[in-house]
Symmetry: C2
Subunit: 655 residues, 2 copies
């Protein structure tokens, strides 16, 4: 037996979902441990699609620049069909995205790189312990203490499979020896030893065959088809003209989809006859799949001298309907949804699962949110998993030529539903249009009826007013628009002032603050939000004790008055905080105006549908809209915040 | 006595100019050594202005993303004047750049960071030896072999001042010891030893007090004024509203200029009375300078608790008129031009000096260019240095309030010439509008007179035809415009397909190649440029022997036909080169069309003034235009290339 160690969060599995959870812990300073049975991150193959929302999320951790620079950007999609005389015909070439969806668009980069950068980020902070070649062997849950969130009710036994610790090379004996291609050495001093980990929370990101899910007696439910598919990453030798576009080719020999990747690679999904699938499984030779590709692509030549990776699979769309237990145990990623890789969603929805969960766990551990909010994980992410499965079923139906065999002429025909499903794949499924239903962290929306008022203002639940910003939705992530800094005129995307720190953000859309009425409303905010006894100030004081200087709620002003007609000094001090040694913080006031030289900007109010009254928007740490209200409705805002924070934070005397 | 070592290029001084020279050597694989008397790169203060052309250059080495992300971008400039009643009044706020100049704009980042990133780049390659704490002691030149460029006529004695070699820490005895904040340890095994270096070429980047310049008996010539200035980097505590803009403030107490920087720093240049300058020199206390700043800024408050760096200087505009000797010895940077730092040009023009020189040296050493072309360094860079000095004199005249003392009311007045000079500073002086006069590497331009033809086509010098692209200029750097890749529709900036590899690039602007006449001209190019015995193919074969797979001349097609109406397979093979194992190179054909969703593009032909006939443009490895001709004038192009390549490359039998 080895040691017993305690950690706040134990993450099982260091794939994209596990690493995204670990990134939140690393960023917020929560003590955590991430374990994985493999000795190393993914090296090739597997997932490769990065949706625009995932890139927005990576950007919120400062990781998008690098990923974006290395990824291949999939700008166009081409549909090809087999003709009656056995040739191939291009049916359409269109944009692979819609305008205004995001500042990023769909890209492809190896899962290996995404894991590498996330791991580098996690290791760079120091509060997350990484144990590779480590498997869980037993799980115990102490139900007596499960509701006391100061306790560690989860006990898990870990077995290290690492070989004996490698002798330390001092560089003199074996100069230049490269024992690992990861830039950090793994903590492999636990070889052959067991460790007992006591944790407050556990996150199972251990894949489709999840050990944790099985321990909990949970199953993936859903249908499994008998459609076989092969996958390859190759450098193609071809005269096919759309090889650098995303292409779908449907012929009587079967269907394939190609997605161009980084380093001249192309990912190919190819439909397989069961006999071919069986032969591939036996021979494990990518050439078996290439033969099928060549057949479908004829009369174009399609060969390769470099197969980077290949595999074969049967399509099964299955989902686990219990993904959060007792607000203590959570499942994410492939452990709760398996589907075909063809919609390119796997890595995305998986990372978005734990992007949703991570800040909630950190906030509860740091005492800024009430533990009950952890139930929103299941409420918010299960519907996403279910929609993903439904969408994948439609795409698979459209892609599978074997389901069309009775009609020779329909080969090469793209059903309308297949086309619509592909379009939806790029919006809703990718996370851009995910809208969480009202719950503890998403205020419900009331229609704004003139004169209608709750009987008792103080007691009423906080409702969002949709009419104040008609084109953005409570529960959805806030779209990013270019805004201009009041003080230095530097353009910046709205989302870029909302990094993933665990901080909530209150954005005051003050509208035309050169208008005395709007300026008066702004000053009124100072009198309510700015007071030391206000809920936000109390929450921020509380947060300052537990979180590396990150506030609980940040405040920003985005106005649309003429920037040069407004002086920062004339604005309420909550928008120009001052510290003794660093002076004014110039990052709080932004303007919706066009940047110099017609380089964008000036479209936010119009695009969001915000009127001359302005509004106040509360964003969660994951950039999703929690609450929209009038600029004057500080009481409503405070009620909402009070409803989700721990009791001890709410009373002034405790903060 | 120590060893005698040989290197192709010896670079004296590891500031920005020396490191840019070393970056070229690192990139092209030329053996070089860079020495510096300091043990470490600059840590704070000194230069900080990065002009847009410098950012374009850093981008050509893949370094701009990082610099751009960390730098502060100076979007606006504010002019303030003292009023008759002793207050301050804002006179104007305008953009600090003009539209279309560059995809980058003026930024500030510490010289320390620029040096750090360049050094990292140089060390990352391995063919450039870096010796710090090393000074040259003697210089000998063997004039007998100076014209034979296979010889090493330069002999220099180096003295290492490094302390005794540090014992090697194996990480066990002193875990985590950080012996240097540079990520690589210096080669300090030469302590106390002399080394004799024999070099083919020497580049002196050893600053205003250049040892090398003095050895050569050369001097900086020019005037020294008695104007004293102080410089500080501070984090300001202020209520001045334009503190995050570039601001110039002129009052009866003096003039100051402020430039916002990264990490909340502001760089301030402040005019000093001689008495104050003397006191600062004695006390070396930044507070002495802050007192002057406070006086000028009154009635605004201007204090600080953090002075990062300060110094004082007298303005002297001086230039060395001999900057290249015998095509063997070159001077660059502060060694050849000193001026006030107020125009923010120092680091830029210095790096641009060696950006001009580096590829020329590498090409001569690798045998792709004739040594005589080295004379163009003096021809091209001396006029830039002289214009810089003249501009700085105008700016200093405008900035100096003491030259206005006879007229009380003129305090706070900005002369028109001062304003014009500041505008020019952002264009011509920054390198964007630098136009090299015709020389060996810049074909002269002939007006296109109908019917006028050289008497003997074969013998005539190659001339550029201005009329073919009326808005771009031979000798200037090619502006960057957004273009779209033919095969994958990814948008890209023209300059981004022209990285600094030492390769020349021939860009065929084929215009509307859906027009049969243009397509015919394109096919004709294949017949001339594509043949194994063509000059370009011969030069590329020659280059492939000496340069890590980098061609001598790359070829690109940028057309403006409807992209989806053109198939890559129908284009000449020179634009879709094929290799046995990697297939087609899809990076050669680009389109001037608008990107999806109105995100730019489609303006190149209009902006460059290229007509329906198209044209052919030869770019030097530094992105400057060498030659513009009709698409059919392959003979003229070949004559130009033959005139600058070594004899042995020209005859077919040798290549």
């Amino acid at each position: 037996m080895g040691d017993t160690v305690r950690t706040d969060v134990l993450i099982v599995g260091a794939g994209p979902a596990g690493l995204m959870a670990a990134a939140w812990m690393a960023q917020t300073g929560v003590q955590a441990m991430i374990i994985d049975q493999k000795s190393h991150h993914t090296r090739c193959g597997r997932a490769d699609g990065l949706e625009s929302r995932t890139l927005e999320i990576l950007d919120s951790f400062g990781l998008a620049d690098r990923v974006w620079a290395e990824a291949n950007h999939t700008v166009e999609i081409a549909l090809w069909g087999g003709t009656v005389d056995g040739k191939l015909q291009r049916q359409s070439v269109t944009a692979n995205s819609q305008p205004g969806w995001s500042r990023f668009y769909e890209s492809t980069l190896s899962q290996a790189k995404v894991e590498e950068y996330l791991m580098e980020y996690v290791r760079g902070r120091g509060n997350v312990e990484v144990r590779r070649e480590t498997t869980p062997t037993t799980l115990e849950i102490d139900y007596d203490t499960i509701d006391d969130h100061s306790k560690f009710p989860i006990r898990m036994n870990l077995e290290s499979m690492a070989s004996l610790p490698k002798p330390y090379f001092n560089g003199m004996d074996t100069p230049g020896s490269d024992t690992s291609s990861e830039p950090y050495s793994d903590d492999s001093g636990y070889a052959g030893m067991d460790t007992v980990v006591e944790a407050k929370y556990i996150v199972g990101c251990d894949g489709a065959h999840s050990w944790l899910r099985k321990q909990l007696g949970l199953e993936l439910e859903g249908e499994s088809s008998s459609d076989f598919w092969g996958v390859l990453d190759i450098i193609p030798l071809t005269n096919f003209p759309d090889i650098r576009k995303r292409s779908i080719v449907k012929t009587k020999h079967g269907t394939l989809m190609m997605i161009p990747r980084e380093r001249k690679l192309v990912r190919i999904y190819v439909e397989l006859h069961p006999d071919v699938a069986a032969r591939y499984r036996e021979e494990q030779d990518g050439e078996v799949l290439m033969n099928e590709v060549e057949k479908i692509m004829w009369p174009y030549i399609m060969k390769t001298k470099h197969i980077d990776w290949s595999t074969a699979y049967t399509v099964g769309q299955r989902v686990c309907r219990k993904i959060g237990l007792h607000n203590r145990i959570f499942l994410a990623g492939d452990a709760i949804h398996t589907h075909s890789p063809k919609s390119g969603q796997g890595m995305n929805v998986s990372m978005q699962d734990t992007f949703n969960l991570g800040w909630k766990l950190a906030s509860v551990i740091q005492g800024t949110l009430h533990p009950k909010i952890l139930e929103t994980y299941q409420q918010e992410r299960l519907p996403v998993a279910e929609r993903l499965i439904a969408l994948d079923q439609r795409i698979c139906r459209g892609m599978c030529s074997r389901r069309d065999v009775d009609n020779e002429t329909s080969h090469g025909h793209f059903h309308e539903d297949h086309k619509r499903a592909m379009e939806q794949e790029n919006s809703s499924a990718s996370g851009l249009a995910v809208i969480y239903e009202p719950n503890l962290l998403v205020a419900s929306t009331t229609p704004c009826v003139a004169g209608a008022k709750p009987a008792n203002d103080e007691m009423a639940l906080s409702h969002s007013k949709r009419s104040l910003a008609t084109n953005i939705q409570v529960g959805a992530r806030i779209p990013s628009m270019l805004i201009i800094n009041q003080s230095d005129a530097q353009p910046c995307h709205l989302q870029q002032i909302l990094p993933s720190t665990g901080q909530w953000n209150l954005i005051i859309f003050g509208a035309d603050i050169a208008n005395p009425r709007q300026m008066w409303r702004l000053s009124h905010l100072e009198e309510t939000l700015g007071q030391p006894e206000s809920v936000i100030q109390r929450l921020n004081n509380q947060a300052s004790m537990t979180r590396r200087g990150v506030a609980c709620v940040g405040m920003y002003l985005v106005h649309c008055a003429d920037r040069l007609g407004i002086e920062l000094q004339d604005l309420p001090t909550i928008f120009r905080p001052w510290t003794e040694d660093r002076g004014v913080d110039y990052s709080k006031v932004w303007v919706d105006e066009e940047a110099y030289h017609h380089t964008g900007g000036g479209q936010l109010y119009k695009s969001f549908g915000i009127g001359p009254e302005g509004c106040m928007v509360l964003l969660r740490p994951d950039q999703h809209l929690a609450f929209i209200s009038d600029m004057d409705d500080v009481k409503g805002l405070e009620r909402f915040l009070m409803s989700i924070t721990p009791e001890e934070c709410r009373a002034p005397e405790h903060c």
